[in-house]
């Protein structure tokens, strides 16, 4: 027996992300989706920068939201509203790194490469003259070296300069590179990294002509406690400064899993008053209530990527779905996916066409999450 006998093209409850990023979907949880949609819309339409903390237990969908919005939904929203698109980037908090700020910069450049930066500045020339752009850079960066760096980016015309710049951005501070670029020093200082990133953000979203917003998702923020204290302080300081230097058009989502810590209650204590006062906005990824979970499962099973024609809860009976949801404890999306995926696979294994309550009862020994 295979999935098509159960009227499915593939297992909808897959645990990992889809192979094709643009095919990533969101099902169920309409309220949550609305909240995040609103945040993005707000960022696209208004100027002030914002930090939003996404709180949710493990498996509540924060990383999925980061992927979904940055790879697909943000663009859809801008198209629906007829606005300039936002730049979306998802980064993971650097863990156990001696230099978390440099590590973050490298991740950033991994996604927004020098090529992208150059093409963004080229595109800016549709709206501003080069002189204007340079003026904007100078006034925003307030840092001679960074101004020079961006000037070089804009005027980079040879492969040589290009490669030197790349090396420079990735931390190469050898005499050769520096002198060929005519720059006095490398991008090592935390503050300079702040200046670099904030200048980029401010320029490409200037007056929302090219991009309406710059949205950054910082995932697994709770892992900041794997860094030593000095690194933790450095990193939170870096974020604060970045936020202060990009007061417009910057939306920063921090994905937080509430963890317990040795001698503080939770991370809000560590973030420092400065950051928490800028981060009064919260979106809570709550565990699903049984009805919400049912809706999620229904929409998931019947999503066009898995099924040509909607067929209700099949191959599950509605009773089986409810029964499962009642007996696996707290309903995080990950847990729902794991459990339902397992049951589906067991049905395939045993040639069972209809998954009913009895089948669940026969299979419950296999389920770690069973709390009945």
């Amino acid at each position: 027996m295979n999935l098509s006998d159960l009227k499915l093209n593939e297992n909808p409850f897959r645990i990992g992300p889809p192979l094709n990023n643009t095919k990533i979907i969101w099902v169920g949880f309409p309220d949550l989706k609305q909240k995040i949609d609103n945040r993005i819309t707000f960022a696209m339409k208004t100027s002030p920068s914002r930090i939003v903390i996404n709180w949710g237990r493990y498996g509540s969908g924060k990383t999925h939201a980061a992927n979904y919005y940055s790879k697909r939904r943000s663009l859809e929203i801008s198209q629906e509203l007829g606005l300039q698109p936002a730049i979306n980037i998802k980064l993971v908090l650097p863990r156990t790194s001696k230099d978390p700020v440099q590590s973050l910069l490298r991740n950033f450049l991994g996604q927004i490469s020098l090529k992208n930066i150059k093409s963004d500045f080229d595109s800016l020339e549709e709206f501003f003259t080069r002189e204007q752009i340079i003026q904007i850079i100078e006034s925003i960066s307030n840092d001679n070296i960074i101004t020079e760096v961006f000037k070089k980016v804009i005027s980079a015309d040879s492969d040589e300069v290009y490669h030197s710049l790349e090396a420079y951005l990735f931390g190469d501070t050898t005499k050769g590179t520096l002198s060929s670029l005519g720059l006095p020093s490398g991008l090592k200082d935390d503050e300079q990294v702040v200046n670099f990133l904030s200048t980029y953000i401010n320029c490409i979203t200037y007056e929302k002509k090219l991009y309406s917003s710059f949205v950054m998702w910082l995932d697994e923020f709770e892992d900041i406690d794997t860094l030593n204290k000095i690194s933790q302080d450095r990193f939170t300081t870096f974020l604060r400064q970045l936020f202060d230097k990009a007061p417009n058009n910057f939306l920063l989502f921090l994905n937080f899993t509430p963890k317990t810590f040795y001698n503080i209650e939770d991370l809000s204590i560590t973030l420092g008053e400065a950051l928490t006062t800028r981060a009064k906005l919260q979106i809570v990824f709550e565990p699903a209530k049984p009805q919400e979970a049912k809706q999620y499962i229904n929409e998931l099973l019947n999503d066009p990527s898995f099924r040509d024609q909607p067929s209700g809860f099949s191959p599950f009976t509605e009773e089986a779905v409810e029964y499962l949801l009642q007996n696996i404890g707290i309903l995080s999306v990950r847990k729902i996916n794991e459990v339902f995926s397992l049951i589906l696979e067991m049905a395939l294994m045993t040639d069972t066409h209809e998954i009913n309550k009895e089948f669940i009862n026969q299979s419950k020994d296999e389920m770690i999450s069973w709390e009945g």
Partner: protein, 579 residues
């Protein structure tokens, strides 16, 4: 000093004086085991015979009657031992924690025999020999023995006193020691994964100046005005304001049987307050985050109740419970109230278990008026011995930590100076906690065990009886029995509740939610909630609920209003209100 072990007369004379009933000679180990069943003491002589002497096929009786051969041996060390018969338990011993403080007769405690022996030895010769408690090894062939015994070792230096020791040891001089046992569920204890940050030896680094717990309390109250202070600045702020309470310090010494050492004065660079701030960090009462000093989650329950007691007269009156009929009631900061004593005792026991319990043990062995000097002169040896004892009871991967610490302690140069930094603060903490009383005679301060200390020693004896090594298990006792221990040692009148459903914990849990909430939505740290409930029931209602008891109640979902998620590896969890 010439070792008298080489004096041939002594060896056989000692044995004659001992009058053994049984004698057993182990030819291979060259050890001679002697037992006197009349008073239950046994001796093991570890001997070294010169190769010229033929000891083949000699049995014990033959040896002890062969003075010539016997006296040719050098005594390397002697072990003195007594045993008790443990009460037989079947395999299904009760596995629920119970607070049965009675129920055994004293004769069944090997710890009692040990402490009595140690007291007698110290009383005569002012030293504490190496000792340990052990159960016999189960060789698996015969039914396992149900004996438990202590072993005291006399090395070459102290052998000269062996004869007189074995004379006075069996004497019944009314060793007053009760042993109070509290049950721990061993199975659950070993099943749980130990939390991170779990070190075996817990020591707080101290400076001799950090003597008054009242100052710690004072610094904590500063956080009522501000949740954080810049770390470079806190000591200056403390010094600047500490002058206000100087008169309380002197009142504490002059009228309230306290002591005024360890005063915080104004200095240029904050060095006077520094030792106290370091101490607060060592006790995990404050911590530094983002270059700011904040209260830890562990100290917030105390801080809240402490500040509340200033505006809630009912709570204030409960805290001022008179520990001693002769005590004067007072609002003096340095005269700690019940809440202070509970909180600081708990933090000290968790974070300084190794040194603190060693000092309490020594005090119990000395068992009479003493000076700091008396502790200092035996302390280094004692804690090295304690590490050696600990080594026999831990897993292999923990041995390295023990070895490192032991080497460090053995290498102390001028230990008398160094020990002042260890002993003086702790004796003063004991004084402030009401565990000791003090008397000044001339230049010297003399301390004496007060009732709470004596009662606490009884509980420590119970822990020793069960686990042999206290300092690594004390934390478990606090989680399971802190309030009943407090109730006992301070002579309070609270009673334990076994059915939590019978009382309304929910309303206090709701209170905890509003008091301890942070930016994290809809959740609070479980430990704070549980502590708050336990403390408030104890202080307001004289009802004892223990931490683990309430935690289990919540884990078992016995309330439908709250959800507890507990993480053993963090030794804490989150409490959510069920929506």
């Amino acid at each position: 000093m010439k070792s008298q072990t080489n004096d041939p007369v002594q060896t056989s004379a000692i044995i004659k004086a001992f009058d053994p009933f049984n004698a057993y000679f182990d030819e291979e180990a060259q050890s001679l085991f002697l037992e006197n069943v009349h008073h239950g003491i046994s001796l093991t002589f570890y001997l070294k015979f010169p190769s010229s002497v033929n000891i083949n096929d000699l049995n014990g009786y033959e040896l002890i009657n062969n003075e010539e051969v016997l006296n040719k041996a050098i005594i390397l060390k002697v072990e003195i031992s007594e045993y008790v018969t443990t009460h037989s338990g079947d395999g299904n011993d009760k596995d629920i924690e119970s607070d049965d403080l009675d129920g055994h007769t004293d004769e069944q405690f090997v710890i009692k025999k040990l402490i009595c022996a140690l007291r007698k030895i110290f009383s005569s010769y002012q030293f504490i020999p190496y000792y340990h408690i052990t159960e016999p090894i189960d060789y698996g062939l015969c039914p396992p023995s149900n004996l438990k015994y202590y072993i005291i070792e006399l090395d070459e230096v102290h052998l000269k006193w062996l004869e007189s020791i074995i004379r006075f040891l069996p004497m019944d001089n009314n060793c007053f020691l009760n042993v109070k046992t509290l049950e721990i569920d061993r199975y659950k204890y070993f099943k749980e994964r130990p939390p991170r940050n779990n070190s075996l030896i817990n020591i707080v680094q101290t400076n001799t100046k950090a003597r008054r717990i009242g100052y710690l309390k004072y610094i904590i109250t500063k956080f009522e005005k501000s949740p954080y202070f810049p770390s470079t600045f806190l000591s200056k702020i403390v010094e600047r304001d500490a002058a206000i309470i100087n008169n309380e310090l002197f009142e504490y010494k002059n009228n309230l049987s306290g002591n005024d050492k360890g005063v915080i004065q104004l200095t240029k660079s904050g060095t006077s307050a520094e030792p106290y701030i370091r101490l607060l960090q060592g006790l995990n009462i404050i911590t530094v985050r983002n270059k700011s000093v904040i209260l830890t989650k562990q100290s917030k329950v105390y801080s809240y109740l402490n500040s509340k007691s200033k505006i809630d007269p009912i709570l204030a009156s409960k805290l001022k419970f008179r520990f001693d009929l002769f005590e004067i009631e007072s609002d003096n900061l340095f005269k700690l109230n019940l809440l202070d004593r509970m909180f600081f005792l708990r933090q000290i026991l968790i974070h300084d278990s190794f040194y603190f319990l060693a000092i309490v043990d020594i005090i119990s062995i000395i068992n009479k008026q003493f000076r700091a000097h008396d502790i200092i002169s035996v302390f280094q040896r004692f804690i090295i011995d304690e590490i050696n004892r600990t080594t026999t009871k831990v897993k292999n991967d923990q041995l390295r930590e023990l070895r490192t610490i032991k080497e460090r302690i053995e290498s102390w140069k001028s230990p008398k100076v160094y020990l002042e930094h260890i002993i003086e603060p702790r004796l003063n903490w004991l004084l402030d906690l009401g565990f000791l009383t003090s008397e000044t005679k001339g230049n010297a301060t003399y301390y004496q065990m007060a009732t709470p200390c004596r009662l606490f020693s009884e509980i420590l004896a119970g822990i020793s009886e069960e686990w042999f090594i206290k300092h690594i298990h004390i934390k478990k006792y606090i989680e399971n029995h802190f309030f009943i221990i407090t109730n006992y040692i301070f002579g309070l009148q609270s009673f334990k509740i076994t059915n939590i459903k019978a009382i309304n914990v929910e309303s206090r849990l709701y209170e905890a939610f509003s008091i301890f909430k942070t930016e994290a939505p809809k959740r609070i740290a479980a430990s704070q909630a549980i502590e708050y409930v336990c403390y408030t029931f104890f202080l307001y209602e004289n009802i004892i609920i223990e931490f683990n008891q309430l935690k289990q109640f919540l884990i078992d979902k016995k309330t439908d209003k709250f959800i507890l998620e507990w993480y053993n590896s963090e030794n804490d969890g989150a409490l959510y209100i069920k929506s």
